[in-house]
Symmetry: C2
Subunit: 379 residues, 2 copies
């Protein structure tokens, strides 16, 4: 079995005094320390980063890792836009399953605030389709269209979507490493700036710096509070929204979720908490449906129920999610696994979810061209 | 065993009329056709590309693949600068060894000629260290320094290094897909433009567009002319030359080569042909030494011997290498495996190496921050 043996997280936010290398080192040091391991025990490293080349002018991260730690072990960088961190974890898990290695270090990292926000918005559109880019679309506008489609089809209201942000901010208030450690009200969301109709500023995740690292180890023995990777899945869909059957479904998420639970003893009803990819409030709504927590079209209703403490639904984004914990894109997928593992270990402090046995992570690239999911639990 | 079941190569060169998506599709179509397989038989795709985001404004290549073929299978992009193609192959092999998949498609792709050459030169320095970039170094200058160090330490001459280019151009003359299908003389090399002392234009690999694809399958049965991946290795070294013990050794190559042959029944003496990473002529010289074909310091002498048909040394870069076949960076590592597999199958046409049983590929990222190697042969 593959244990999440070490966890290391940096602060998420506008980290002006830290560069890519600093963030990698801080997260990796913490994860190794938490695992009680020396870097020489790590056989392979997987780094998820989307824009290290574009923003920090740095590719070939294997050489960076070698230089920081004075080791010559294999290091890969994997990229799948905002799913880069999830994909780095997925790749590490496959390597461990291959039997070629027993101990892997996964690092997700992104340094985003070193360039102007409009330039970042343009760079992020690399995760979208050429026809969308050349038409002038940005991710808020794509998700704005998805929001309108969902509203038209299912009668979802903007007030229901407010709850996605309110849930995340309430949770982030208890996460010392979150970018925004404060609650937001319905009124504040409704009065925040227009971004892409009907999405307001407070329906959108921020631009962030940060890193997350996990040590994954092939281990049989377990204590009651160890967290293990029980399964992983990865699916893709057309990069362009125009090529999809409709705008209110993420097919890659539906496929990945189905695969994750296929042949598993764990049912979706057993999930205590989910870290899902709420880059925009509508994404949280659609993910609840496409993962299978609720029927299609019931995501808006589910968000309200979760906010009000419905115990038939899982805790949503205990870390604060992308919305309030922050979204350094390459780091997000690794942080999601770290958060669920902390919850299972019972080490999540003031945001601890009760009776956590199983949790789920859901990390998408672009507007859903890629979905990576992990099922994590006690054994 | 992992068979190289399908091979697909595009023309390498200045392909003004093809974009990233065209190149991916052409190489993948050819590889699937060669394997006699439908895309629906592929379980996972690995794409190596360094600069797809910077040049073509396109990341999240999983969505691109999904859109081209109408499938929703896992697709990863891996990046390790000029070793991206080798690393994509390495990652696919590990996934097959994990038992989770049996059939993988690996694609290496790079579109480099859509931007001015000086801008490309700057982008490529993402594969180098920050101190090198900010000091104004480019890759020719880094390899120029390595050339000087090698000359000073071992008495290597520039005339010996000419042979690296002459060997590659002679081989490329028989490769219809090569960027430069013509021979070059000592005089032409010596008279070509100064690039970074003592390197001349004809000691340097070009900027190229192109793609290469291979289908890798878990298969036991074999005919005499099937090519199998016998082993793979990956090692890293400091990204900065200043942090290394010396400038005339690629430590990552030494480590990767040692690992490749450890516990293998194949000896370096059994290698019939090697596709090694000759981004600059000195890189070919150093690789011959660091892989272990000749003693340290004897690389220059070995190049001359190989040119003159010494049958104790392997055939060098039968495809024409990076120098003459072209170097679309993400494609190179995959093309190297494709070339060796074609040689083993006896399908290399006018450039066929006689009695090919075992071959080797050697793919480096940056100035050697990453080395990926593959041992390929009959079983």
């Amino acid at each position: 079995m593959i244990k999440v043996k070490g966890i290391g997280l940096t602060q998420f936010g506008e980290l002006w005094d830290k560069d890519l290398k600093d963030l990698i080192k801080e997260a990796a040091d913490k994860a190794l320390d938490d695992a009680g391991m020396d870097v020489n025990e790590i056989e392979s490293v997987y780094i998820g980063s989307m824009l290290c080349g574009e923003v920090s002018e740095q590719s070939n991260l294997g050489g960076i890792f070698s230089e920081i730690y004075g080791v010559n072990i294999p290091v890969s960088r994997v990229e799948a836009a905002c799913a880069s961190g999830g994909m780095a974890s997925y790749t590490a898990i496959q390597a461990i399953k291959s039997g070629s290695i027993n101990n892997a270090l996964v690092i997700g990292v992104e340094k985003m605030t070193d360039i102007p926000a409009n330039q970042m918005s343009e760079l992020l559109m690399q995760a979208g389709a050429e026809d969308e880019r050349t038409a002038g679309a940005t991710f808020p506008s794509l998700f704005g269209m998805m929001t309108q489609a969902h509203m038209n089809k299912f009668g979802t209201t903007i007030e229901q979507l407010h709850f996605a942000a309110m849930i995340c901010h309430r949770n982030a208030a208890n996460n010392p490493l979150a970018q925004f450690k404060h609650e937001v009200s319905e009124g504040q969301i409704a009065c925040s700036a227009d971004i892409a109709e009907p999405l307001k500023m407070l329906h959108c995740s921020p631009i962030s710096d940060g890193a997350a690292a996990i040590v994954l180890s092939n281990e049989e023995k377990s204590t009651d509070d160890d967290a293990f990777i029980l399964n992983e899945s990865l699916a893709t869909d057309t990069i362009s929204l125009a090529e999809r059957e409709n705008l209110y479904t993420l097919k890659s998420t539906q496929i990945a979720s189905k695969q994750l639970f296929a042949n598993s003893e764990v049912s979706i009803k057993d999930i205590g908490a989910v870290e899902l990819h709420d880059c925009f409030s509508i994404a949280a709504c659609m993910a609840l449906e496409d993962i299978g927590f609720v029927d299609k079209g019931k995501g808006g209703e589910a968000l309200e129920k979760i906010y009000n403490g419905d115990n038939k639904l899982p805790t949503l984004n205990p870390s604060g999610g992308l919305k309030a914990s922050g979204h350094p894109v390459g780091a997000t997928g690794v942080k999601q696994i770290a958060e669920i593992a902390l919850q299972i270990r019972g080490q999540a402090g003031d945001r601890q979810v009760k009776d956590m046995t199983y949790g789920l992570t859901h990390n998408i690239g672009g507007s859903g061209g890629t979905t990576v999911m992990h099922l994590i639990g006690k054994i």
